[in-house]
Symmetry: C2
Subunit: 248 residues, 2 copies
């Protein structure tokens, strides 16, 4: 049986990879398995990550996958941590907290663009992995130089990342789902018949927002709108000043 999830997550930093293990050596490393699983997820969404499909990619039988991973849920956590660890963060340099928060948001959007399947994954155990923790540490440093206490710093980062994730979910097209515009065109006629002249505000605003949604600039506009709100909201927070961090 494979090691517990925590040890698999930290397999590279493992203290004792010495003494060769007994039995035949594995045909694939854990990282291989996780990498191929991520490939599947990128191509076909998280639903495409099946034990059987992964086994085929590895040229193993389905059950042999369980030699490397305890369960599909564990595999998803390993994938998420590896994706988090693979980020190439924009360095903060000597910037203010505003531009640093912006970079955190942008980097996360880039991550979710590359790995849309992360949007469909919500396992708290991801927080146990080295990639995720390193990401957490790095992003917390965006608030260096401010006088936020620890709990507020965590809350502020959470606030930024929640926005990022929610907005990314609207921007990024997941490979398995169809375009929203199809649904819109297909339903707008019948919907209008039911709505008639009711709820004029919803109809007017919905139409305006719906039409803009198709446009090429809208995704970026929605992103900018929200990010500006996030920054303004944080700026109002006691403990945030516009000074670059000195030494923390």
């Amino acid at each position: 049986m494979p090691e517990p999830l925590l040890d698999l997550l930290w397999r590279d930093r493992a203290a004792a990879p010495v003494s060769r293990r007994r039995g035949p050596k594995a045909r694939h490393s854990t990282t291989d398995v996780v990498t191929l699983a991520i490939d599947l997820a990128v191509e076909g969404g998280i639903g495409a990550v099946t034990i059987r499909a992964l086994a085929q990619k590895l040229e193993l039988t389905p059950m042999s996958v369980y030699t490397h991973v305890n369960s599909r849920d564990d595999l998803l956590v390993l994938m998420a941590d590896q994706a988090h660890g693979s980020m190439t963060p924009t360095p903060f340099g000597r910037s203010t907290w505003r531009t640093r928060v912006r970079r955190v948001a942008d980097d996360n959007l880039a991550l979710l663009r590359e790995h849309p399947w992360l949007l469909d994954l919500d396992d708290p155990r991801t927080a146990l992995g080295p990639g995720t923790i390193a990401k957490y540490d790095r992003e917390l440093h965006a608030f260096d130089g401010t006088s936020l206490d620890d709990v507020s710093r965590d809350a502020a980062l959470t606030f930024v990342l929640d926005f990022t994730r929610a907005t990314a979910a609207r921007i990024v097209v997941r490979p398995e789902t169809g375009e929203f515009s199809e649904l819109w065109e297909q339903s707008v006629a019948g919907l209008a018949a039911y709505l008639g002249d009711d709820l004029p505000l919803a109809q007017r605003v919905g139409r305006a927002a719906g039409e803009a949604m198709g446009g090429p600039y809208d995704a970026e506009r929605a992103w900018e709108f929200g990010l500006a709100r996030v920054l303004a909201g944080l700026a109002d927070l006691a403990g945030l000043r516009d000074a670059p961090p000195a030494a923390e």
Copy 2:
């Protein structure tokens, strides 16, 4: 075969419920089916909403459920719309946009407390239903009296609801998932061994936030923190003034 999803969603407002249909009358109304499905979801999470379990509640065979609903995915959309329609919104009265936005957020939190399964549902077709559209209309009115244009009004509401949903997901305990504290206690020892003295910021802040997370007041504090950020962020928006709405 049942009617298409759009017609099922608007079944109550349907124009022609006249002329009795042929064949035996249905043992259950669509609303019955959806209501029982919601019961299942409230009790056991969205994963407990299986065709077979629902059939049992209805005293039907599994396949008979498809007389009322075209697919499980359609059923989930019907459930979401019914839940949205069942909200008892706090009236806005003569308040400022700030308190109205607060009410929108609070009402949505209440909704998600009552129906945590909504957090695990993300189907754009929900937007086609009368309950969802009525909710949208009502919540858009929170910005009456401001000079936001239509697109910004939609974006502002989206911003509020995204925050609400993300924070609710952290506050509300879904019936099927275990408590986070269990995971924490179970892993903290091994994790500390791997971490050593690395990433001190993440360790310190994570510990502070993690300890607070258990406490009884933390959920509300996180909610208040975020909501205050949301309101401050929106206040910074051109077009928002603190005047109560006059006539819109």
